[in-house]
Every structure is written in structure tokens, then in C-alpha cells.
């Protein structure tokens, strides 16, 4: 029997009463990394930094090829893993989830493009290295995160002139509304910092870190990633204090 019949009853086309909210946020920068809803923060110890990470503190299982990846891919994978953990989503190759990833970065793959083509030219323009070439797509960091975290939903790199977060949130909302994914990771990664958040349909008390309205309000003032981490931390502290 064709497989197509199997999945059809799974989704409703539009659930107008559905509430979408942020169920977890993960971040990483040059000082450390953390999970906002869980109020977990790790400051780098001696010898540790964004290049030399205590991976066991971030990932729940060994990350094959982590050292091979470019910096944006590492930052993306770390922030995404921390966000999923913060949201209580078990994410791994063995436990794949229909989670989408929508991400951005200010320069796309520029640094990896330069690394790849300079290496090729220095080699006499005859041979190039496939392991550098695969990071020359803006979406490659999202792909590495999807592979390690078992995310089988849509995967999009998105960029625009002004703050792209509101557009990414809109896309995530549409994906959840139309049953295109069960959860959506939305975030931004740079060479020195990254932040990802998990959007989900919320149906249980305590699942939500903040509402879409609160998120849109913070993201409309987007500056850099560290500024956003600071704003979300303030929001968390306000909620804990209230």
C-alpha cells in the first residue's frame, strides 16, 4: 500500500484556537552559554572558549565531526541544542522530531566562501577541498544542526535588510498553523554569539517561556545577539520576580 495514505489524518489544516509561544531559548557567546527558561548558565573555565567548548555540557550525546565544522555551524548547533533542551525536547539522531529550523547570520557563508576559494587558488586551481566546499552554503550550519539534533522539518536560511527576526517568526507561525512542523527553531548565529528559540503550539501550563507578543516586542528592537540575550534575560528575571 502506498505510504501516502498513512499520514493524511495527522494534521488539521488550521487550528484557529491554537496558541503558539516560545518554549525555550538557548544561547552561546564568548563568555559562556546558557538556557533561559531553565535559568542555567555556564561560564567558560580556564582553557575553554567558543572554539574549545565543553561539549558534554551542551550536547546529550557525542557530536561526530564537530571539530570539522566552521564556526557559524558550531555556534548554530550549540545554540539550537541548548534551546531544544530548554524546551524539554529530546533531540537526537535516534529520536528524530519534526522540528523546522529557520536561521540567519549577518554575512551568510562569506568567511567559509573565502576559506574555500583561497585554499583552491593556493592549490593551483586544480584541486579543491570538499570539506571546505560544503560550508559555502548559508544553510549549511542549519543542516549540521538538523543532522545532529534529528530535526526533520523544513530548513531555511532567511535574510533581509532590516531585522529579520519578525519575518522568521511569521514563517514559523505559518509552519505551525499549517502543520508543516511540530516545532520550529528560530535564531541567529554569528562568529562570536548565537541564540535560538523554540516555537511550539503550547497546550500545557509551564511549557511556555514567553508569548509571541513578548517575543515580537523584543525582536523589533533587535541589535546584536548579545543584546537580545540580555533582553530575554531581563524578561525571564521579571517573570521569576513577579
Amino acid at each position: 500500500m502506498p505510504d501516502s495514505a498513512v499520514l493524511i489524518p495527522r494534521w488539521c489544516l488550521r487550528e484557529t484556537t491554537m496558541t503558539i509561544s516560545i518554549s525555550g531559548i538557548g544561547w552561546i557567546n564568548t563568555e559562556g552559554f546558557g538556557r533561559l527558561k531553565s535559568s542555567k548558565e555556564y561560564k567558560y573555565r580556564s582553557g575553554e572558549n567558543i572554539q574549545q567548548l565543553p561539549k558534554h555540557e551542551i550536547f546529550s550525546h557525542p557530536f561526530k565531526n564537530f571539530g570539522r565544522m566552521d564556526t557559524i555551524s558550531r555556534v548554530t548547533a550549540c545554540a539550537a541544542a541548548l534551546a531544544l533542551k530548554d524546551a524539554g525536547v529530546e533531540a537526537s539522531q535516534e529520536n528524530k522530531t519534526d522540528t523546522a529550523i529557520i536561521g540567519t547570520s549577518s554575512e551568510g557563508s562569506l568567511r567559509s566562501d573565502l576559506d574555500y576559494f583561497q585554499d583552491y587558488v593556493q592549490g593551483g586551481r586544480t584541486l579543491s577541498r570538499a570539506n571546505l566546499f560544503i560550508y559555502t552554503l548559508p544553510s549549511s550550519p542549519l543542516g549540521e544542526a538538523a543532522i545532529h539534533l534529528g530535526c526533520t522539518g523544513p530548513l531555511l536560511f532567511v535574510s533581509e535588510q532590516k531585522s529579520v527576526f519578525p519575518k522568521m517568526i511569521d514563517m514559523a507561525e505559518e509552519m505551525l498553523l499549517y502543520g508543516e512542523a511540530d516545532a520550529v527553531l528560530v535564531g541567529r548565529a554569528e562568529q562570536d554569539a548565537g541564540m535560538y528559540m523554540v516555537l511550539k503550539k503550547s497546550d500545557r501550563a509551564g511549557e511556555t517561556f514567553c508569548t509571541l507578543e513578548e517575543t515580537r516586542s523584543i525582536l523589533s528592537t533587535e541589535a546584536d545577539v548579545n543584546f537580545l540575550i540580555h533582553k530575554f534575560t531581563l524578561l525571564r528575571n521579571r517573570k521569576v520576580g513577579s
Binding site: 502506498p2 505510504d3 501516502s4 495514505a5 498513512v6 499520514l7 493524511i8 489544516l13 528524530k96 519534526d98 523546522a100 529550523i101 554575512e107 551568510g108 562569506l110 566562501d113 573565502l114 574555500y116 576559494f117 583552491y120 587558488v121 586551481r125 586544480t126 584541486l127 579543491s128 570538499a130 566546499f133 560544503i134 559555502t136 552554503l137 548559508p138 544553510s139 549549511s140 543542516g143 549540521e144 538538523a146 543532522i147 539534533l149 534529528g150 530535526c151 526533520t152 522539518g153 523544513p154 530548513l155 531555511l156 536560511f157 532567511v158 535574510s159 533581509e160 535588510q161 532590516k162 529579520v164 511569521d170 514563517m171 505559518e174 509552519m175 498553523l177 499549517y178 502543520g179 508543516e180
Partner: protein, 373 residues
């Protein structure tokens, strides 16, 4: 709300316009040729799908040259209030090549955002636009997002543009992956040995049913459903069990509220690599069972146009729907055993099923499936 395609245009190695591409495919002629733009002697193959008349590393980038022609032809077609989505993988990467090889210019000129600003200006629309990049599914993903925006009511008009070009950067990269065929690509052929890269640009204007009717726009077809997925398996190799593609197709069927019986033909990704074509055929068998229906790939005609592939293939599939004919798979000689009864090197009329399925896949394990009506 339903999302209709009301205008579309492409530049491919066959020439400018949908007709030139369609006629070339129907005639079972390839537009793939030897590359003279740069030295290919060190690479696996001298072949690519090249658009003639473009200048390389002089003045405007290759993709801007193609898009400029398309937007000149689209003058007065695109409304100023359209939302704008631009799909590409490497955009103006020729600027980065020039910087490294000739020490001229600024490599940051190759960042997709810079291209977005230029193309938004070309288009004449007010929206600053958004870049959508998802490897070789970039433009089919952009079509899906545009349709989702119309379905949700956040806009009633969206313009999707897509582009990618054949450059030394891209060519050397695919060669390093051992992905190139030394002869013009033979998708779904028993003796296929890889892909040829190709270049193309396309634009498609999507409108809500209500606005298309109000403005009396000609309707080329409908984006009836879409599904996007990721294998979560490997950066460059497709999933051996095809579950990512099957997931995308099933999502598209749900989105379009149809079953596999409604599909009349499949415009496949069909790159010509052993792994991709095998993965797709296995996926199609899982979805369609023993039912045989026309499957084709246009990449033997124009090469793999990367970020532009999904949009070009969507536009060709809309034409195929209108003509009630699936084009031949150009360069096909001996169908792969798993493709027998599905692919042909002649045009195929399709019987049952009134809708088209267009599939794409790419690095990072991304998959898209669009249902067209």
C-alpha cells in the same frame, strides 16, 4: 485562500522565455555545452548548462545580468505592493572570485543581502524583500513560503525570483565532490554518472484567487500544496531509505488535500547522480506503489541550476499541466531498472490525475515537494 501563479518567466541555457525551454525539452535536445568561461581541464567534466551572451567577472554579476533581462520583460506586470522573496544559493559569488583572483572589489559584495537590495530595486516593488536559501531547494521553498503567505492572508500578492550561475567557485566545488558527469548528464539512466551544473534565473508572480480575478490576470496554475523536510542524515548524501522525501511529499498532499491518485505526473529533481536518482525513485515507489505515472527530469537539458532549479521546474511543470504532456527526460538512453515504465525520452501524455508533483532535494538533506494544479 488559494495561491495562483499569474505570471512567470525564465532564462535558461535554452534561451530567454518559457517557450524556448519548453520547446527545447520537447524536442529532446540538450542545451548543455562545453564551458569556455574558465579552464575546466583540472575538473571531472567540461560540461555545464551555460546561458549564452553573459559576461563573466566584468561589470554586473552573472545573476544580475539574467535578472535584469527578466525584470525588463516583466515591466508593468509586477505590482508595487507585492511581497518579494529572492532564492539563491551562491548569488553573486563571481565578485568573491574577482577579489581573490584579481585583487579587485569587495568580497562582501557576494553576500546575498547585497544582491537582494539590487534585485528589489530592479523589481520596482516597495517591499525590501527577503532572501530564502535552502541549498538546491531554495526556490521551491520560496514558492512554498510565498503560497503560505497568500494562504494565511498576510499578503495577496508575492513575487518569487530565483537565480544561480555557473562559476569556477561552484564548478570546482562540485568537482571536488566527484559529482560531475564527464558527458552531458543522463538523469534516471542506467549509466548515469553524475550531474552537470547549470545556470538560470526565473520569476513568478503569485496572487490570491480573489485578487487575480479582480485584476483579470491570466492564471498559469495553482500552488495547491507544499511540503518541506530534512533527512537529518548527511550533509551531501541523500537518505538511503528516502524517508525525508516521502515525508515532504506526504506533507504536500495534506497541504493540497489530495491523495497520490490525484497526481498525473512528477517533475523530479533528477540530477543524474547515482544516489539522488535512486533515492527519488525509491521514494516515488513508496508513495505511489505499483502505479506507473510519467516522471521526468529537465536537468539533462539545462543542467542542475541549483537555487533556481525549483522555480524553473515549477514553471515548466505548470506548462506541462497546461499542455497535458510531460516532457522527455533529455539524454535518457537506457532507463534505470527502477525507472522503467516511469521515465521516457519522448513526451508522455498523462492519463489519470490532474495535478503535478514537483520534487527537489539538496545538501543538508533538504527536500521539497510542491503540488501544482
Amino acid at each position: 485562500m488559494r495561491a495562483f501563479v499569474v505570471a512567470a518567466d525564465i532564462i535558461t541555457p535554452y534561451g530567454t522565455g518559457v517557450d524556448s525551454c519548453w520547446n527545447g525539452l520537447i524536442a529532446n535536445k540538450t542545451a548543455i555545452q562545453t564551458v569556455t568561461r574558465f579552464d575546466t581541464r583540472a575538473f571531472q567534466s567540461p560540461y555545464a548548462g551555460i546561458v549564452s551572451g553573459l559576461t563573466y567577472r566584468q561589470g554586473a554579476s552573472l545573476v544580475m545580468q539574467m535578472l535584469t533581462i527578466l525584470f525588463q520583460r516583466a515591466a508593468n506586470v509586477v505590482p508595487r505592493d507585492a511581497k518579494f522573496l529572492l532564492a539563491t544559493t551562491k548569488g553573486e559569488i563571481d565578485y568573491l572570485e574577482t577579489y581573490i583572483l584579481e585583487h579587485r572589489g569587495d568580497p562582501a559584495e557576494s553576500i546575498p543581502l547585497r544582491l537582494l537590495k539590487k534585485v528589489a530595486g530592479l523589481s520596482g516593488i516597495d517591499d525590501e524583500g527577503v532572501i530564502i536559501s535552502s541549498a538546491c531547494t531554495s526556490s521551491s521553498a520560496a514558492v512554498a513560503r510565498a503560497a503560505a503567505m497568500i494562504r494565511s492572508g498576510s499578503t495577496d500578492c508575492a513575487l518569487v525570483a530565483a537565480c544561480d550561475s555557473v562559476t569556477e567557485f561552484i564548478y570546482s566545488g562540485f568537482s571536488s565532490l566527484m559529482a560531475l558527469d564527464s558527458v552531458p548528464a543522463r538523469p534516471f539512466d542506467k549509466n548515469r554518472a553524475g550531474l552537470n551544473v547549470g545556470e538560470a534565473a526565473g520569476i513568478a508572480l503569485l496572487m490570491s484567487e480573489e485578487r487575480a480575478r479582480r485584476e483579470e490576470r491570466p492564471v498559469l496554475g495553482e500552488i495547491a500544496g507544499w511540503g518541506l523536510s530534512d533527512d537529518a542524515n548527511h550533509m551531501t548524501g541523500p537518505c538511503r531509505r528516502s524517508e525525508g522525501l516521502v515525508l515532504a511529499i506526504n506533507k504536500a498532499f495534506v497541504s493540497a488535500k489530495i491523495t497520490s491518485d490525484d497526481i498525473g505526473f512528477i517533475g523530479a529533481h533528477g540530477t543524474g547522480t547515482g544516489y539522488n536518482d535512486e533515492m527519488e525513485l525509491r521514494g516515488f515507489r513508496k508513495v505511489f506503489g505499483n502505479r506507473e505515472l510519467p516522471v521526468y527530469s529537465i536537468k539533462g537539458g539545462i543542467g542542475h541550476t541549483m537555487g533556481a532549479a525549483g522555480l524553473v521546474e515549477t514553471i515548466i511543470a505548470l506548462r506541462a499541466l497546461r499542455e497535458k504532456t510531460a516532457p522527455p527526460t533529455v539524454n535518457l538512453q537506457t532507463p534505470d531498472d527502477n525507472a522503467r515504465g516511469w521515465v521516457s525520452n519522448s513526451p508522455q501524455r498523462f492519463g489519470s490525475g490532474t495535478k503535478a508533483l514537483v520534487t527537489n532535494a539538496g545538501f543538508s538533506g533538504v527536500n521539497t515537494a510542491l503540488v501544482l494544479a
